[in-house]
Assembly symmetry: C3
Homo-oligomer: 668 residues x 3
C-alpha cells in the first residue's frame, strides 16, 4: 500500500433517493478515500437470468474517480437473486435443518453447479467490466464466506470421496474413527450414511474439516477468475470474519483463515466489538493479529462499526481510538460498514457513519478528524511492520473437537473461551503476539508460545512442540492439550501423550472441581481468583516442578500447574481452568523466563502500547488509553515526536493520556 | 339490548352423562339467563361428510327455551372434524413450521376452498335449522378467529396478487420495501419468493397485514351467510380475543379488531385475567375499552373465567367484583367459560363455574348473588354509555413493525408492553379511556391522546396528529413514534419525522442506556423509578421545553422528555423507556393541562371509579376496591342511591369499600 | 445364582489394539468373574447383509473361559448397522419429530418387519453359535429397550386396532376419551387421525400405554427366540433403565418394568447415580427395590459407573460403598460399564474402570479390593432375601397422565418428583421398601402402603385400596390420587372419588398456593419446611381427623392433611405439596401406627441400614456411612460377626463407620 485507506461500504442501490454527489461531498469532507461496493446486490446487477444492468456500478465508479476516491469492487455472490432460486430451488443449501428457505444472504450451497455457473458469469461480467476502470484499486471475492452448513446428498457424496482419498482403506477409517462403537461400522463405501445424524465425533470433526476445505476451494476458485481480469496494480482480498457472539469474538469455526487466505494478495477482515463502557480494544487487537499473521503482512479492515447498534454508538473519542488501534496492529485500511443507515429490510439498526437522515452527526464529525489525521500521517503510519517474539497457537481442529467433546455436560465453555482467556491477558500485559497454527512451518521465530487446549493434533505437531522446547523455546499449555490425535482418537498412552515428554508429567484421571482452589494461593491473587472451575486433571509430575497443587480433601496430592525444564526451554502446563488473574501472574513469570518481558510491560491495560517499524525505518509507538479516566505513563523509550499533537517527546517524560485517547510517537 | 345477560358456555356434547335438566335448574338458581352453544362441536353435528345430527342442539334449545334461558348459537367452524382432515389433509394450514398436524383447534387454512365449502354447508345447515327457534337471540361466527399463520403456496399466491393491486409496479414495491438489500430484489412477479423465509421487515409486515385481512374477510363471509338466516331481532357477534400471555394482555397481533368488527351487529370478546392477589381489573378495563371502541357501543363478554386455573380461583368477592367491572366498562353480557369442568382432553384444568363433580361450590354460590343483582338492577345497568375525553391510539402496524425491529437485540420489550405501561397508568388514575386506531376518522372528540410508539404510520396519519395538536389537542408520544412510514421504511428526514413539527424536537442518534437516570429526578419519583432503560433517543429541542435531561457523562446534553406548545395544543414526547411512576406523574400533569383531570382523579388505584349514563338518562358511578384491604373514598359527586345496598348517598359522604368489593351509585 | 458376580462390559471390538490377554490378566487381578459382551456391535458381527463374522465373540469366549471368567452375551439389536439402514431407510422410527436420521443407537422402529427379520437372523446366528459355549452363563436381550417414540403410519395402524379390541365400539371410545371436545370425535375407524398431534390426554395416554406394550412384546419375542437355544443352566435377562435426569432417577416412563420382566429368568438393571459429595445411595436403593420387586427375587446390576464422568469419579471408598449397597438391596451381580474408556465416537468421557491409557489407577485399585471381598464373602452375601412390610405403589399410568395434566402451567414438578420425595424419606428413615404397581395382586403382605399421586386408576384398584385399609392396612396418599379413571377421565363424583370412602374427606376446589404454610406448624419443622407449594386441594373432612390446616386468609378453613380411621386401618391424605421434612415427620408417625417402626429406625441417613436373610438362613445387616465424616451407631441387634474385618460384634456395641464405608454383620 502506498497510503492509509479510510473507507466506507457504499450502496448506491439502497439509497431512497439519488444522493451520489451529496454523499461524495460529505465523504471528501471526512477524508474518506476509498469505498467498497457491489458485494451484496446481484439481483440489481442481473435482474433476470442473463440480463445485466451495471448502471449503479458504472455511475459510482465514475463519480468516485472524479472525486479522487478509490474503489474496491466485490463479487456479488453471497446473496442470490430471487429468479435464480425460483428457477433452481436446490441452489439453496440443504443443512441438518433441511432444505433452505429464501430470504437471508449466505444460504446457498457453495458446491452447487447451478450456483457456480451463475456466480462465475456474474463475476466475469462485473469484474470484466470494471477491472480497467481507473478508480478500481482492488477486488473482494464474495463476503464473509462460510460453508453455511451445506450437507445435502451431493455434499455427502463429495465428503465420502474426500475420505476415500485420505484413508488407505475403509478398514483403516473404521479403526481410526472407532466406528465399531454403537454399530456405526461401515463395511462398504455404498453404505456410508449421511453424516448429518452422526454421533461419532471423529467423523463429525472430519466433516467440519471438509466443510472448511469447501470454503478454501470456493474462494480460490473465485480468486482465479478475478485474477484473469485484474491489473498488476490491483489486489484481490477477502472479507474474513470471526466467531460471532454479538461481536467478533474468536477463531472462526467454519473457515481455516490460514489456508483460505493463501489465494489472496492481501487479507481483509471485519471486526466488530463492544463499545461505550465495554470498549477494551481486545477484539481489534485479536482480529488484527490473526489477519496480519495469515500472510505475515499488513491487512485491511474492510468493515468495522461506526454508529452500529444502540449499545455501540461510540462515546466522544472512541471512534478515533478504534481507528488508530487498527493501524497499531498493522492495518493499512479502516473502513466502516457502512456509509449510511439502511431504511428498510433487516440491518436497519446496524447504523452507518450517517444516520437515516444523512445529516452530519457527532460520529461523522469525529470521523472527519480521523480522515484528516490519516491523510496527514499516512507516510508515517502506513505499512507498520511488527516482529513479535510471542505467539499463540490456534487450531480449527482443536475448536471443532472440543465442540464434540466439551469440558463437561453443562459447561458452555468452549475453545474460543480458552483462547480468549489467554489472549486477553497477553493483550493486557502489552505482550505483542502473533497467531500461529498447526500448519505453521516453524515456531523458531518465537521465544514464547502459548498453546490453548490443543485437544486434537497429530503426533508430528506435538513432537515439533517438544523439539521447540528442547531447543530453548518456552511453551505454556492449557488442559486437554495433546489428548487426541488428528482423528480425535484419544491417545492410548498416559496423558498428556506426546507432550508428556517435554512437560514432565502424566495423568490418568480428571474430575470436575467443586469448591477447589489452588493450595496456599501460590500466585497471590484475590481469594475468588484462586478458584479452579469446570475441569481438573489429577497430575502426577515426573520431572516437572509443581507450581500449584489442588486444595481438596481427596485430590490434594495431585498437581494443578507444573513447569518443566526440558532441554534449553521450559514447558508449563495448566491442568485446570483458572482465573484470568492466575493466568496473568503465570504469564508474567513465564514471559520473564522467556525474555519477552520488556519496557512495554511497565504499562498495562487500560494503557495499551503497540509498536512497529514504519516505511521510513523508524519505530512507531502507539499509546492508547482504554478508559473513561485520564491516564499517564512514563515514556521508557528513546526520544521522538508525538505525531498527532506534533510535540517532541523525551525518554522518561510523563505522557498524559485523556480518556479514550491515543498518542503516537515516532522515535527519532 | 333490553337486559343484562348473565351466561355460560354450555356443551351438552361434553357431558359424561345426561344432565340437561339438572344443569338448567342450577343455572336458574344462579340467575343464568343465556347460554352459548355449538361453536366447538362440528364433528358431533356432522359425524360424516354430509351426514348431520343436531340432536344435542335441538334438545338444548328446547329445554332452554322452556326454562326461559336464551341461547347464542356459534358456527362450529374453528375446530375441524377428523373425517374432513382424513379426506383432505390440506385443509390444515401450512405454516412456517410446515404442514399441519391434526389435533388442536384453529389449525386450518381459512382460505382453503375445501374447508370453506364444508364450513359453509355446516353453517347453513345449523343456522338454517335454529334461526327461527324462539330461544335463539343471536349468533357467534367461529371463535377467537385468527389466521393461524397460514402461509402455504396458495396463500403466498394470494399475497402476491394482493401486493400487485397495492403497488403501481414491481419497481415501486422494490423501492418502498428496499428489496435491493441483500439481493432480495424481485424483477418479475413470477420470481416472487415465499415470504416465509424473508428477512425483509417491510415485506414481512405487509404479509402480516395481509394475514389480518384474511381474518376480516373470512369473518365477513361467515356473517353474510348467517345474515341470510337471522331474524330482525337476532344479532351476529364474534368472540375476539387479545394478545395472550397466559391471560388477555394487549392488542391482538393477528386480527385488526376495528376492521373485523365492522361486519358484526355487536362486538363480543373474551377476557381472562390474573386473579387472587394479582387481580387489578386492568385487563377487564382494557379489553372492555377495545371492545366498546370497535363500534362505539356496548359489547358482550362472551367468555371470562369462573374458577379456571389453580392460580385464578377467585377469592370471596372477586367474582362479583369482576362481573360488575365488566358492566362498568360498557358490557351488556358477562358469560363464563364455562358451565362445567371438562372431564377429558385438554382444558380439563380450565375449570368452569362448576367443578367436575357438578356440585354447588363457593364460586357457584357467589355467582348466584351476581345473577340475582343483575336481574334486579338490569334496567339501571344495561346499555351504559360513556363519553371519554381521553383516548389511546393503538396500531396493529406499529405492533408488527416493532416485532420486526425490536428495541434492541436482547430486550423482550414489545409494542404491547409499551401500550400497557401507558394504559395501566391511565387506568390507575381513573382516567376513562377510549381506544382509537390509525383508521379513526377524527380525534376531535378527545382532549388528550396517548400515542404509544407509533413506529409505522403513513404521513397522513402523522399530519392529522399535527393538526389535532394545532387545533388544541394534547398528545403524548413515546419513543420511536413516526420513525417509519406505512411500508416500514425509515423516514429520510430528521427524526421523529413528520411529528417533529408539533413536537419541536429532532434527533439523529439513539443509544442503549446503562445506568442512566433523568437528571435531577424531575418527577420526584423514587430513585429506582428514575432510571431509564432499554432505549434512549438523543433529543435536541428546537422549540420544545425540556421536561427531563439524561444524567450521563457523554449524553447529558440531550433531552429525554420534551413538551411543545404547538398551535392551541401541546405535544409531549418521551424519548426513552421510563418507569410507570414517571409515566404517572407525566400523565397527571398533562391531564391537567388537557382539562381531563376531574373529581374522579381524587381517588386512584386500588380504588377504581368508572361511570356512564344509563338508559334512564342517569349517571351511574361504580366504585371498586381492588384490594385485600378495606378502603374508603369521599364521594365527590351529586346525591344518589347506592343500588346494591339500596341506600341513599350524598355528596361528600365517606364511602366504605370492603376488600374486593363494588358499590354502584345512580345519581338522582 | 451360586455366587456373587463382579463384572464389566467388555468390547474387544472397540479396542485400539489387541489387548485381550492383558485385559484378562488385569480382570483376574481385580476379581472380575464375569463379562458382558456383544450387545452393541451388530455391524461388526454382520458386516454385510447375510455375511457373518463372529471372530471377536469367539476369541473373547475362548479366552475368558480359559481364564475362568464367565460371559453374558447380548443380542446386538439395539444399534442397527449402516447397510441395513441404507437398504431400508424405514427401519428407522418415524417419531413426532419426523423420519429418523442414522447415527445414534436406539433409533429404529421396533415393529418394523424388515428390522425384525434382520434382528431375528442375527439373534439366531449369534445365540445359536455361542449357547453351548461353556463360558456362557446367560444372555441379555437387546439393551435399555424402549419404544423410541415410534409413531409412524404403521404404528398408528396397530394402535387403532389395539383400541378397537379394547372398546366395545367407537361410540364408547369417543365417550370414554371425551373426543367430542374440540371436534376430535371419530365417527368411523377410517377417520382415525394420527395421534402424533393429538391434544386429547386420554388418547395420548392410551398411546403411551400402547407404546409400552410394544416394548413388552418386543422383548418377549426376543426372549422366545433365545429360549430356543439356551441351556437349562443359562438365564435370559434384560438391562432395564430408569427415567434419566443425567442419572437414573425414577420410574421409566417408556417401559412397564413389571410386565416386561415377566418373560425373563432374572431382572437386570443399570443404575447410574450422583457421586462424590452428592453420593447418597438413594438411586442404588430405588433401582434395586424396583428390580427386586419385578420378580420378587434377586437381580443383576448389569451396568453401573466406575469412573464415568468428571463429576462422578468416586472418592476413595465410594466404589466399595456402592458395590456393597447394590448387594444390600438384593443384587447378585455388580458390573461396570465398562472395562476400558472408549477412544472415539460419543461416550468417550463416560469412562470405565480403566482410563484410556489402560494403566492401573486408583479406581481400578479399589475395584481389586471389592473383587477380593466378593469372592471371599460370596456364600454369605449372595441371594440375600428381604421381607419388607412397607411398599410404595408406582404407576406408569399415573406418570403418563400427570405429564398430560401437570400440577400447573409453570411447575416442572412431575410424577417421579413426587415418587422420589416420598421414597427418599423412606430410605433416609431406613424403612425397607418394596415396589408394588397397579397390577400387584394383593397388598396384604404389607402393613404400610405409600401411594404417590395415583392420578389415573380404575375403580377396581381404588376399591382394593379401600378394602386394604378396611382390613387393617395403612395407606398414605398424596394429592390428586384417584382423580381420574383408567382413561384419564375425571371422575364425576366429589373428589378424591372412590378413595373418599377410606379417606373420609372430599374436595371440589384446588388452587395454587402462594405464601401458604401449614397452620401452627403442626409437624414442628423449620419455618421454610412448613411451606406448601405448587398445589393445594381445599379439603373438607367428613370423618377424617385434620392433621394440618392451611394458613391463608381465604382458604384457612380447609384441611391440608388428614387421617382417617377406616375399618381396621388408616388412610392418610396429603392434599398439597409439602416439604421433605413434613413428609419425614408424617412417615415417622404413620410408620409407628402401622407397626413398621423398629430398631433400624434408631439410625438414619447418612447412616443407612439394610438387611436380609442369606442362603445360610442367617440375617445379614449392612451398615453404610454415606458421609464425608466418620459416623457411629449403637448396634441394636443380636450378636454376630462383622464379615469384612472378621470381628465379632455384640448387641449394644458402638459400631464405628469411617467416611464412605460399609460394615456387614452376619447375626449368629
Amino acid at each position: 500500500m502506498k497510503k492509509l485507506l479510510y473507507g466506507v461500504a457504499y450502496y448506491d442501490e439502497y439509497m431512497p433517493y439519488d444522493r451520489l454527489d451529496q454523499d461524495i461531498q460529505m465523504m471528501k469532507d471526512a477524508g474518506i478515500n476509498v469505498v467498497r461496493i457491489a458485494e451484496s446486490t446481484w439481483s440489481t446487477h442481473e435482474p433476470q437470468n442473463g440480463v445485466f444492468d451495471f448502471t449503479s456500478v458504472d455511475r459510482v465508479l465514475d463519480a468516485m474517480h472524479k472525486a479522487g476516491i478509490e474503489v474496491i469492487v466485490g463479487t456479488p455472490t453471497y446473496a442470490v437473486p430471487t429468479w435464480l432460486v425460483k428457477e433452481h430451488p436446490d441452489v439453496l443449501a440443504t443443512t441438518p435443518q433441511g432444505p433452505g428457505k429464501y430470504g437471508a444472504r449466505q444460504i446457498m450451497d457453495i458446491t452447487n453447479p447451478v450456483y457456480l455457473f451463475h456466480a462465475e458469469r456474474i463475476i466475469r461480467k462485473l469484474i470484466g467490466r470494471v477491472s480497467q476502470h481507473p478508480a478500481v484499486i482492488g477486488f473482494q471475492t464474495d463476503n464473509e464466506t462460510k460453508h453455511y452448513h451445506t450437507s445435502g446428498p451431493n455434499v455427502q457424496l463429495q465428503f465420502v470421496k474426500y475420505l476415500r482419498e485420505r484413508f488407505e482403506s475403509l478398514e483403516e477409517l473404521n479403526r481410526k474413527f472407532g466406528l465399531d462403537y454403537w454399530s456405526n461400522r461401515i463395511n462398504s463405501w455404498e453404505d456410508f450414511p449421511s453424516v448429518v445424524g452422526t454421533i461419532n465425533g471423529s467423523l463429525g470433526a472430519a466433516f467440519s474439516q471438509f466443510q472448511r476445505k469447501l470454503v478454501t476451494d470456493f474462494l480460490a476458485w473465485q480468486v482465479a477468475i478475478v485474477n484473469e481480469y485484474k491489473r498488476e496494480d490491483q489486489f484481490v482480498t477477502q472479507n474474513f470474519d470471526f466467531e460471532w457472539r454479538g461481536h467478533s469474538f474468536g477463531v472462526q469455526p467454519d473457515v481455516d483463515h490460514f489456508a483460505a487466505s493463501e489465494a489472496f494478495d492481501v487479507t481483509g477482515v471485519d471486526i466488530y466489538h463492544p463499545s461505550q463502557d465495554d470498549l477494551t480494544g481486545i477484539e481489534i487487537s485479536f482480529g488484527g493479529d490473526v489477519a496480519r499473521s495469515t500472510k505475515h503482512n499488513n491487512y485491511l479492515v474492510l468493515e468495522t462499526e461506526a454508529q452500529a447498534f444502540t449499545h455501540w454508538v461510540p462515546y466522544p473519542g472512541q471512534l478515533r481510538l478504534q481507528a488508530f488501534s487498527h493501524l497499531a496492529s498493522g492495518a493499512n485500511m479502516v473502513a466502516y460498514w457502512h456509509w449510511h443507515s439502511i431504511h428498510n429490510s433487516f440491518e436497519t439498526y446496524w447504523k452507518g457513519l450517517l444516520s437515516h437522515d444523512f445529516e452530519p452527526n457527532p460520529v461523522y464529525e469525529e470521523a472527519q478528524t480521523i480522515g484528516k489525521d490519516f491523510a496527514r500521517l499516512s507516510t508515517h503510519l502506513v505499512n507498520l511492520k511488527k516482529k513479535n517474539k510471542t505467539a499463540i497457537l490456534v487450531s480449527n481442529e482443536a475448536l471443532t473437537s472440543i465442540n464434540w467433546f466439551k469440558f463437561n455436560m453443562n459447561s458452555p465453555l468452549n475453545y474460543n473461551d480458552i483462547v480468549r482467556r489467554l489472549y486477553d491477558e497477553l493483550y493486557k500485559l502489552n505482550i505483542g503476539t502473533d497467531i500461529v497454527h498447526p500448519g505453521t512451518e516453524s515456531f523458531d521465530d518465537y521465544d514464547l508460545l502459548i498453546v490453548p487446549s490443543l485437544y486434537s493434533a497429530p503426533d508430528a505437531l506435538l513432537e515439533k512442540l517438544n523439539r521447540y522446547v528442547e531447543q530453548g523455546g518456552h511453551v505454556v499449555y492449557t488442559s486437554r492439550s495433546g489428548f487426541t490425535d488428528e482423528h480425535v482418537q484419544v491417545r492410548t498412552s498416559q496423558q498428556p501423550g506426546v507432550i508428556s515428554e517435554a512437560c514432565g508429567i502424566h495423568y490418568s484421571l480428571f474430575v470436575e472441581p467443586k469448591n477447589v482452589t489452588l493450595k496456599d494461593n501460590p500466585f497471590k491473587v484475590a481469594e475468588d481468583d484462586n478458584q479452579v472451575d469446570t475441569w481438573m486433571e489429577l497430575i502426577t509430575p515426573t520431572t516437572a516442578e509443581v507450581l500449584a497443587y489442588y486444595d481438596h480433601p481427596h485430590w490434594g496430592k495431585y498437581a494443578a500447574i507444573t513447569q518443566n525444564r526440558y532441554g534449553q526451554g521450559t514447558a508449563t502446563y495448566i491442568g485446570c481452568i483458572v482465573s484470568s488473574a492466575v493466568i496473568r501472574e503465570l504469564f508474567s513469570s513465564v514471559a520473564k523466563k522467556a525474555g519477552v518481558w520488556g519496557l512495554d510491560q511497565e504499562a498495562s491495560y487500560p494503557i495499551i502500547v503497540k509498536s512497529g517499524t514504519n516505511d521510513l525505518g523508524r519505530t512507531i509507538r502507539y499509546y492508547f488509553n482504554y478508559s473513561e479516566q485520564a491516564g499517564s505513563v512514563v515514556y521508557p523509550h528513546g526520544d521522538g515526536k508525538e505525531l498527532i499533537g506534533e510535540q517532541s517527546v523525551t525518554h522518561g517524560q510523563l505522557l498524559q493520556l485523556k480518556p479514550w485517547s491515543v498518542i503516537i510517537i515516532e522515535e527519532a
